[in-house]
Every structure is written in C-alpha cells, then in structure tokens.
Symmetry: C2
Subunit: 505 residues, 2 copies
C-alpha cells in the first residue's frame, strides 16, 4: 500500500533492509513450505502457541531468527506470576482465589489494566500453573520471605508486592511469584521445558530464519510469510494462520524514539533481537497497536538494602514505601527528580543477609547526614529533615507517610552509607542499566482480542493474523510486576495457538 | 487491506459507522469535486496549509465537518509561541535569537523533543510572526509580567516559563508567549484572521463535510477522499495531495484507552470533534504514528495563587518551584500522589490582583497547619515540616530545593487557606476538568517529515498524503507549554501546504 513497489525477492535478499511491506500473494510464485499454523518467534509465547496448535492437530512450524530458540524469555529471571490457589501456594499455607488475584493485579499493573484479559488470566491461572508442570517446569514448595528482585535460592514462591501497602489493603496478601527450581536466573529453565514439550508435541522449529514480510491474499487475509535464511529467501504458506510472537521493540532505537523515548539511553532487558519487526509487519497492513509507550523500567537498587533503609530522590525526599516490590519502586523512581539514592545506616547495612546484597557495596559513607548531603549533592538539610520525620514515626513502629511494614521500620542512626544504583548490581557496574540505573523493555504492541486475533485500525480483524507476548499489548496498564510477561505471554500464546489451529483453512 | 470489503458507498452512507478502510480508486466511479490540494479540517493547521497551497497557485478546498471553520483552535486561549526577536519582543525591550529559543524549548518541551522540527520552528519564528501579522492578527506591544494561564488584559507578550528555574539557567530568559489583542480566550481571534486570509487567498471551505476514507490508486498513492455531507456521499479527487489537519483524538475514548489512557476521566480541551479520524484513516493505510501516548494535561490551579504560596501533593510535600509556567507544574502534578493542593496564607491570598484569582475562592481555611492537615486528610506534621523548611529559606530569600524566584518568596504565616484545584476555575466547578482538576488533549499523531509528508511503517512515504497540527506528532517531547500547538500547527501546516502544492499532479 505504499509507493515502494520493489519485488518481494529484491526486498527479502537486500542485506540490512528492514522493509516490512506486505507481499501480495500473486507475487509469490511458489512456497518453500506449507503448514497449518506458522508461529514467528520461539520465545515463551511462541512455544505456547505452537504447543497448543499442535495439540489441536495442526501442522506447526516455528520460525526463529537466532540459531536456537528461547529469545528474551530464556534470558529472563524466569518468574511466573500465577495464583488463585496453585499447589505451591497451598503447600506453603496460602489460600488464594481468582478474585483476590485480580484485585491485586488490577492495582499493581494499573491504572488502566486490560480488564478483559486480566479476568481470563486470573480465572485460568491454576490450570495454567498445571500446564507449566505438565511441560516439565518444577517448583519447590517453599517461600522466600523478603523483598528481592530474585531469590538466590531454589524457593518456588516469592512475594511480588502483594504484602506491601497499598496493595495489602486492596486484596488479601498472598505471594504469587512462582519460580522454577533453579538458583538465580531461571528463564532458560522455563524455556528448555517449553521447547522440549513443544517439539514433543510435534511442532518443528526452523532456526536462523528471519521473517521479513507477511504474505496477503486479495481479500486481505494473511496467508504466509516471506523469510530470509543465510541470505536466501524462504517462503512459508500458512493454511490456517500466522501467529506473531516476535517480542517487543526495546532493541529498535527508531521505534523507541517514535513510541517509547523514555527508555532511550537506559539499559535494555532483552536478547538483543527485540526489534519490533512483528509489530511493524502487521502495522504496515493497517493492524492497530496499543499502548506503545508503556514500558517496564527496573531501577537497579538492591531491595534488601532499600527495605532496611530508605530510597530518597534528588531532593533528599522519600517517595514510596521501601518494602514494596522493586518493580513498583522502580516506576516511581523513574518519575522522580533524580538521581535516587539508597540510604542506610551501619546497622541496616550489616544486617543484609549474605548474597542478598547482590555484590553491591556502599558508594558513600559519612558520619553525619550533613556530610552525606554534601557528598551526594543533595540540598543542605534535606536528608536531616527526611530522616527526622522517618525516625519520629519509626520509634512508634509506624510510617504514616508511606506505610512501610513495621518489620522493616527501625530508628536509623549514623554512621551512614549511601548506594548509587546507577552503578548496577554485582560490582563494577556490570549490570548497570546503561549508567542510568534503569533497564527496561517495552509493553506495548499489537492490539489483540483475548484469542490473539490482531485488530485492524478499521475496527475489524486482520484475517489470518494472531499475536501474543510482547509483540502484543497484554494484561498491563501503567504498572508492572515480574512474572507477568512470561505469564501473559504463555497464557495468551496458548489461546492464540488454539484459535489459529481452529481457523478455516 | 482488511477482510471487511463493504463498498465505499455502503460504508460512507451507513450512519454511525466510522470505518476508515481505504477505498481503492477503482471503486469510485466518478468524483464530485476535483482539486489540486484537499485539506481535511479547518483548524489552524488546515487554514495555514490551504493558504500556502493557494498562494503557490493550487486549487484548494478545505473540508470541515462542523458547520463553520475554526475547530479546537478557535476555542483555545490563542497563545502563539513565537520568538527569536519578533517586533513585539523588541518593542518590549527583549533581545532574543533562534538558538536561545531552541535552548528553552528543547528543555521545556522535553525530554525528547523532535530536534529537526524544533530547529526549523525556531529558525523560522520571526518570519512566522510576520506571517500572522500579514494575516491580520494584531499584537499589543506590552508585557504581562506574572505567572498566569492567560492574562485577562490585552497585553501582547507573556512569560511561558522562560524566567523560571531551571530554564532560566539553560537559556537567557525572554518571554515568547504572543497573544492577539483580545481579552481572555483569543483562539477565535486568531482563527477569524486565518480563515479570512485563507478565503481571500482563494481557498474554498466546504463545511458540514466529514471525510471518511482516503481514496488510493493501484500504486498506493492517496488521490482523494470519500466524505459524507448530510447523509450523502461526496467524493473529492486531489490531483496533488491530501493534507490531514483533523486534530488529535482526545474526544475518542476508544483511542484514548488504546494510546493515552492517562487522559481517561479527565476534562477534554477540544471542540468535541477531536476524534482522531485523520490519524486512523492514514494508519489503516500503514501510515506510521508517533508518540501516541504524549499528552498535555493542565491542572486547574490558579497561577497567581500558586506562586504566592505553594503547591503540595497528597503527602504534604512541595514538588516544584511554584513560579514555573503552569503547564509545567501541571505535568509534575500528574505524576504526584494526589490530590495536590494550593496552600496560601492570608497575606498571600489578599495580594492576588483582581481578576487573576480567576473566580476562585479558597475551599478550606484554618488557623493552624495542624487543622489544615486534618481538613485536607494530609499526614499529621507533613505541612508543618514542609512550611518550616520553606520559611527557613524564604527568610533569607532563597529556595534551595526548587529555586523559586525571590520575587515570590516570603515567610508564610497563618491563618491558612487551601484551594482544591479539582473544583476548577470560575467558581462552582464550571471549568473543573472533569472533577479531577486535569483537562487535556493529545500530542501524538502521524509521523511526518518536516514538510508534512506522512511516513509509512515500512520506512518509505505514503505518496500523496500530508499531515500537520495535532493529527501529527510535532515539535513536542514529553513537556508542553502553551502556544506551541497553534504555533507548530500553523508553522508545519504552511510547510505541508507548500509541499502538497508542489507535488506532481
């Protein structure tokens, strides 16, 4: 539909070109492969879609541009946000239900969650947990009970903000962060299980194969994909549907500039290939996008330190209860006059359990708050006022400003230490979020129905086209908690796979 | 390009249907009108585009869905952000240049302004000012010298944040808010002049005519528009180009939900017809959009009160220097834990000049800050601490936290008053911003070149299609100051009109 009318062949073979112009079916003389359901991208959403489509009897191929499957999912922490009464929750002594889960996520992922998707996600969560187990993901039935980005234990359950104010008043606090029995980063564990189950279910994976354009018939229906493998064009016909599970666009600076410039200059949480190509291929066809500016931005402050001290902004003010899930203090920090600092006293610093300090040592130390203000470049008297107010209430076990739990309240006394989160975790800034302390990824993408059908800007659907995972806009509003990306990616990936398999051939 | 293949006729005549599916040229048997340049929407950008296209010798028609021209532009305050050394600036004793103007706007409209557009906008600003005068917009050569949304005088020049920290350190402070010689809301004055000049220049306006879909030839070029007038279809052939100046989408709740949910529930600054139809018509064709989530959201607090007291958030904390342009404290307020309150003492309240109080009286009064905290539901001691810190520094004429200018600093003493901005201006909540205190409009739209050419998602251009004003993404980053919408709408509207007139027929 544009003035650029180069042939599919020319475009698919030109190196470096990222032209996503749809290719008319008439321009494809013959297809190299023909399947029922073609899935584009072998991350968590793609694996889930392929598995369900294959289970429904469809012939399925998954295209993956990297040399192996996994995508950004495999490089994630591996948290899965699941609840409503899973076996792990019950074994740890927690009662949960779908309504309670919905109440928490509506607030924590909000404002403006997708209530239709979130309702289904909560209602189906116990079944979805069992699906993970059936794929071979195992969970230890024990709780890690302190604020953290990721426990360096094999505990299968963790809090993701449910027990912190104001969420503890909006829903009954129950932990829902499920983690496979792996120490540290566990995304690869999840993806190995899902890809194994996927292959066992009969889906094939074509690696090193990069989808370039959608093939469209005269009626506007998506009927295939033109891809590229080692410099050659490969064409795929999809009899029932194409499912785009290509991920977000944090690795595409042009798209970030256009849609989510707030992430420019920050670190990227991805496998380096989240270039938004699936979103663009569909948008070139008039597909509708949704919330392209919504992002997750994690602030690399150490939760075990934050909850024992305080987080102050560039004016020396507190701005949130420090025991909240770190994904939530991160979003708050993003809107503060920065940089934000972690302030601790000696006793707090020494009480951080081994390992939980994530390799981080204080950047600044001082006998008095006045000295620390000067070292950090904070307004004179600002830390003094903030700490005085904090201590006045901590002495009585309360935090009327932000309602931090009494477990983490204590009168703070010098000597003082401050951590600069811009230096990142694990010393020497090795996970430093691009020097800003923030590292993120995108949440916006194609507008889809609960069955993954891609909506057109015109209000109808783009026939033959489905999407899930971060190529689509999921359950999220403006907030974020860990586990909801692998969570909604797999949950709605499964639905998209089933819907595509059931479509007319 | 979708599965919906209803005929153009069916779609154009179906009542209530907002199908924006492009119409293939082959489906249009004959055109009711044929022109060189067709402009869709008679607001400031449309008037500017039509005028320049006509001046270049093109035959021009402007479609307007309302019964008269003007659009949201006519209902605006009428501020024009212009500088670089205009006659009004010089007469008021201010020296300015394009670099200085650029330095301020890059910060105030940022982060993430469109530097290419902004550079042209600043470099061309003196000429653009003279263009307004040549259209019959007159400016009184006098300065209104205090923070305000809009002076209720005929002063032709006002500050729009240039003299407030941190902007006064980033660029030499020079006022650039230009206002036509009209008391109060002046958008209609600007639009009467522009539409007069437009008609004089030979452009015709077809009112009551609502564009529904773009007409596209086999090569993907936009060659016309299918419109609807009083229930009947009217077709327009555009030999050289179609310029979309249809405005933003604040009046389309579905689009807000998808792209800018932050505005949901707030008041709308528009003529009620900013439904995003132009953006959707183009996006259905694969046109790229940009920054669809960026918004202006004005907080209905009275600047003359705010600068004499303080603005505190729902925790009783200050968060910005109160003498900044209100558009800038508004954006800050949007991200604060709310509601935010205006806090004043009796002396401050009594010193507000008549008229500048905008009809607003304090909502709460109290002898002590403790009483006021209780009345407002603020944490005990919060206002006490905030005011103590403020007064400590105000006594020495400084504001180390936020750098409010010494002119507005004074030790505050009871009795106290607080204003609830949610009640709006002019008493009884008549301009109340939907009860939230915020009222806004959208800044995101089609991705365009500096000549208004609409970009395709594929990276090429959509041939024959142009856009300007709030149907496009303009000079703005995440910030906003008044006068930049009429400003960049007319500036880039003119460029789009010239480019369309010069296109091949």
């Amino acid at each position: 539909m544009t003035s650029d009318q180069a042939s599919a062949e020319e475009r698919a073979t030109a190196p470096g070109v990222t032209d996503v112009t749809p290719v008319p079916l008439a321009q494809v003389s013959s297809f190299d492969h023909e399947v029922d359901v073609l899935v584009v991208g072998a991350g968590c959403a793609g694996a889930a879609a392929a598995m369900e489509a294959a289970a429904a009897g469809a012939e399925v191929v998954v295209l993956e541009r990297a040399s192996g499957p996994g995508g950004s999912s495999a490089q994630s922490g591996g948290e899965l946000y699941l609840g409503g009464g899973t076996a792990v929750q019950r074994a740890c002594g927690f009662e949960d239900d779908a309504d309670n889960m919905f109440a928490y996520l509506r607030a924590a992922l909000g404002p403006h969650v997708d209530e239709e998707k979130l309702r289904l996600y909560c209602d189906g969560s116990v079944e979805h947990f069992e699906w993970f187990r059936s794929c071979g993901v195992n969970f230890q039935e024990s709780l890690y009970d302190a604020p953290t980005w990721m426990p360096f234990t094999q505990d299968g359950l963790m809090w993701l903000g449910e027990n912190a104010w104001p969420y503890n008043e909006l829903a009954r606090p129950v932990p829902r962060g499920h983690r496979p029995a792996t120490k540290g980063w566990a995304g690869h564990t999840v993806m190995e299980a899902l890809m194994g189950a996927c292959r066992e279910g009969g889906a094939s994976v074509h690696t090193d194969t990069r989808a370039r354009s959608l093939v469209v018939d005269d009626g506007g229906r998506v009927v295939g994909v033109v891809a590229r493998r080692f410099g050659s064009q490969v064409t795929y016909r999809a009899r029932r549907g194409v499912v785009l599970t290509t991920g977000g666009f944090v690795d595409n600076d042009e798209m970030l500039t256009d849609h989510a410039p707030v992430l420019l200059g920050h670190g990227k949480v991805s496998d380096g290939l989240d270039d938004g190509s699936g979103i663009q291929m569909a948008a070139a066809l008039g597909a509708a996008t949704r919330r392209m500016g919504f992002v997750e931005a994690a602030y690399t402050a150490v939760p075990a330190m934050v909850c024992r001290g305080m987080l102050v902004n560039g004016l020396g003010q507190r701005f949130i209860n420090e025991d909240v899930y770190p994904g939530l203090f991160s979003h708050a920090a993003l809107h503060q006059p920065g940089p934000c600092w972690v302030l601790l006293d000696e006793q707090g610093l020494e009480s951080v359990p081994d390992g939980d300090e994530m390799g981080v040592r204080p950047t600044y130390a001082a006998e008095t708050l006045e000295e620390l203000e000067e070292e950090l470049g904070l307004p004179t008297g600002s830390l003094g006022r903030t700490v005085a107010a904090y201590n006045e209430h901590a002495a009585t076990g309360t935090d009327p400003l932000f309602h931090k739990d009494a477990r983490w309240l204590r009168v703070l006394e010098g000597p003082w230490a401050a951590v600069d989160p811009r230096l990142g975790f694990f010393a020497e800034g090795s996970t430093g979020g691009g020097g800003t302390g923030f590292q993120g990824f995108t949440l916006g993408g194609l507008s889809t129905t609960v069955d993954g059908e891609v909506r057109s800007v015109t209000g109808s659907l783009v026939a033959g086209l489905y999407a899930a995972g971060r190529a689509s806009s999921g359950i999220h509003g403006e907030g974020y908690v860990s586990g909801t990306s692998l969570g909604d990616g797999t949950f709605f990936g499964r639905r998209a796979g089933r819907a595509a398999a059931a479509a007319r051939a």
